[in-house]
């Protein structure tokens, strides 16, 4: 089983979510993160002084899937989350040794 972590534009989240649902990915976990990369945040002004918070708010999606799903997931994200502009984000793939479903105690493939 592989864990896929995708850091995407927050604005693309629902598109990605829907596309993944369509290809049969029912489970995922997401949270808001701050991204530092090539794209930079726009500056702010307060009482005459300018400043910059530095980061861009992004959404991180995590899902653990069986090996045979990895390619499809990656392709889907690439297709939907892409705008072609700097800041589209990245996908990381890692190995997962074991998965357990808390409700039933099912393990590994059964738990996905």
């Amino acid at each position: 089983m592989k864990k896929i972590e995708a850091i995407i534009r927050t604005s693309k989240f629902e598109d990605v979510y829907e596309a993944l649902t369509e290809i049969g990915i029912a489970f995922m976990t997401t949270y808001d993160v701050k991204g530092f990369g090539l794209e930079h945040s726009s500056s702010q002004v307060y009482r005459g002084a300018t400043y910059n918070v530095g980061f861009i708010p992004r959404t991180k999606i995590e899902m653990t899937v069986t090996e045979d799903h990895v390619d499809e997931v990656v392709e889907t994200i690439l297709k939907v989350a892409n705008t072609g502009k700097v800041g589209d984000g990245k996908i990381f793939i890692m190995d997962v040794e074991a998965v357990i479903r808390i409700r039933t105690g099912d393990v590994d493939e059964l738990a996905l």
Binding site: T10, K12, F13, E14, Q44, P57, T59
Partner: protein
């Protein structure tokens, strides 16, 4: 009249000024509470500038356009002079038994800005700041005093055989604002993400406490709006008006509560709040003509109407974030009609006069506002870019966030995400560009 009475009357009118003034705080909090946090600075900015703009334009020319005095008043337009020079005896009861010239100006000036405030909420979350400011100056500075003169300044609506009756401005203030708002919304189109694939997607306001504070303050302010419109401290008349105003507000709350419970199966606090305002707008035209039962009925009906109207405007894709149309336009009309149906003036003839007034003022205000919005749209544009709208007007128009400690950037919230995704769908971009009115 004794000097003592004059002084007391004037104190009462000054208290009314304060109350009408706090309505601007009420609108500011209500409207910002019902908008999203990414547009909060923008809403508050507009609502802070409006009283300033209102008072200054009213001082420069508005007051003398609305109350030009007998010699300068025409049926449809009057004007005496620029500025507000103190007339002879303006500080004594020779000016009026109820108030000095200054009190008169300030009370009316505080009223004036209200009409623009109503528009502010309705066009919130996508209007361009510069366009709104220009619109406000013209709307408060020209439209409001012109139609105001028709009735309160002694114009043609006041000289009908059975004069049009609008005690404190259900039509002259609230509907006027409502028509301006309707024209604006029609030309602006709905917020991105509000109507998608033929479905209504709610965009909840970001702070119910702010909205609630706003409504309580508006109710408070209405004591001056209606109570001050007696134009003296006459104990019977004023206290009666206060009671009827309160009963209509209370009945409006109950009407809004029950009706939304029945229709939507939810105890929706925004409907209770809108219901209170609906009751208040509804009683405003006839607050001095109604009895206890009349007031309660007017309020109940207004409370129900506002719920229906919110649903109705959503169905026809008129996107009004704060329910300004439902409250001020619909219930403004209802309240004005109610003068012909309930209370001391009830009668078919009065009802006709009411319809004439509603119609005349409605047509003028709507056309005026539509024309201004339209010219603005063709020139500087009235709507921010999709990106600005998605990321929030605060960061783009003001380079600032309303709550920097809570969300560093103001657009990392779940709901925004939703619309941002929606915005990226082509079907939607189309929708955004298809306002109700063909251009």
């Amino acid at each position: 009249m004794s000097q003592e009475l004059f002084v007391t009357n004037n104190v009462w009118m000054m208290v009314s000024i304060f109350l009408v003034f706090v309505m601007h705080l009420g609108f500011a909090t209500l409207e910002s509470g019902l908008a999203r946090s990414k547009n909060t600075v923008n809403v508050l900015f507009k609502n802070s500038m409006i009283p300033a703009i209102g008072l200054i334009t009213y001082a420069l020319w508005g007051f003398s356009m609305m109350y030009p005095g007998e010699s300068f008043a025409g049926g449809f337009f009057g004007f005496s002079n620029f500025g507000i020079p103190l007339p002879e005896g303006g500080e004594t009861s020779a000016y009026n038994e109820g108030y000095t010239f200054w009190t008169d100006f300030l009370f009316q000036g505080m009223f004036a800005a209200t009409a623009a405030t109503i528009v502010s909420g309705a066009v919130a979350e996508r209007i361009k700041l510069s366009a709104f400011i220009i619109f406000s100056i013209l709307f408060v500075g020209l439209c409001y005093p012109i139609v105001g003169m028709w009735k309160w300044g002694g114009g043609f609506l006041n000289t009908l055989s059975i004069p049009f009756y609008d005690f404190a401005g259900s039509t002259l203030v609230h509907s006027v604002g409502g028509w301006g708002a309707l024209a604006g919304i029609m030309l602006l189109g709905s917020r991105i993400g509000k109507y998608v694939d033929g479905k209504i997607k709610p965009i909840p306001g970001h702070s119910i406490p702010l909205a609630t504070i706003g409504v309580f303050i508006l109710w408070l302010g209405w004591f001056g709006f209606n109570g001050g419109s007696v134009l003296s401290a006459d104990p019977g008349a004023v206290s009666r008006v206060l009671v009827m105003t309160s009963l209509a507000a209370a009945a409006g709350a109950i009407g809004g509560c029950l009706f939304s419970l029945i229709m939507f199966k939810a105890s929706d606090i925004t409907m209770v709040l809108n219901g209170i305002l609906a009751g208040l707008v509804g009683i405003t035209a006839g607050a001095d003509q109604m009895g206890v039962t009349d007031s309660i009925i007017i309020g109940l009906v207004a409370g129900a109407l506002v719920v229906l109207a919110v649903a109705f405007f959503d169905r026809i894709r008129i996107d009004d974030p704060v329910g300004a149309l439902s409250v001020h336009l619909v219930c403004g009309i209802w309240g004005t009609l109610a003068v012909g149906i309930f209370g001391a003036l009830a009668g078919i003839d009065q009802l006709i006069s009411q319809l004439i007034g509603i119609g005349a003022i409605g047509v003028f205000s709507f056309v005026f506002a539509f024309a201004v919005w339209y010219v603005l749209k063709l020139t500087i544009g009235i709507r921010v870019s999709a990106r600005e709208e998605i990321e929030g007007l605060d960061i783009h128009e003001h380079k600032m966030h309303a709550y920097p400690d809570f969300n560093g950037t103001g657009f990392e919230m779940s709901l925004d995400e939703k619309e941002m995704m929606i915005a990226s769908n082509s079907r939607n971009h189309k929708e955004k560009e298809k306002p109700v009115v063909a251009e």
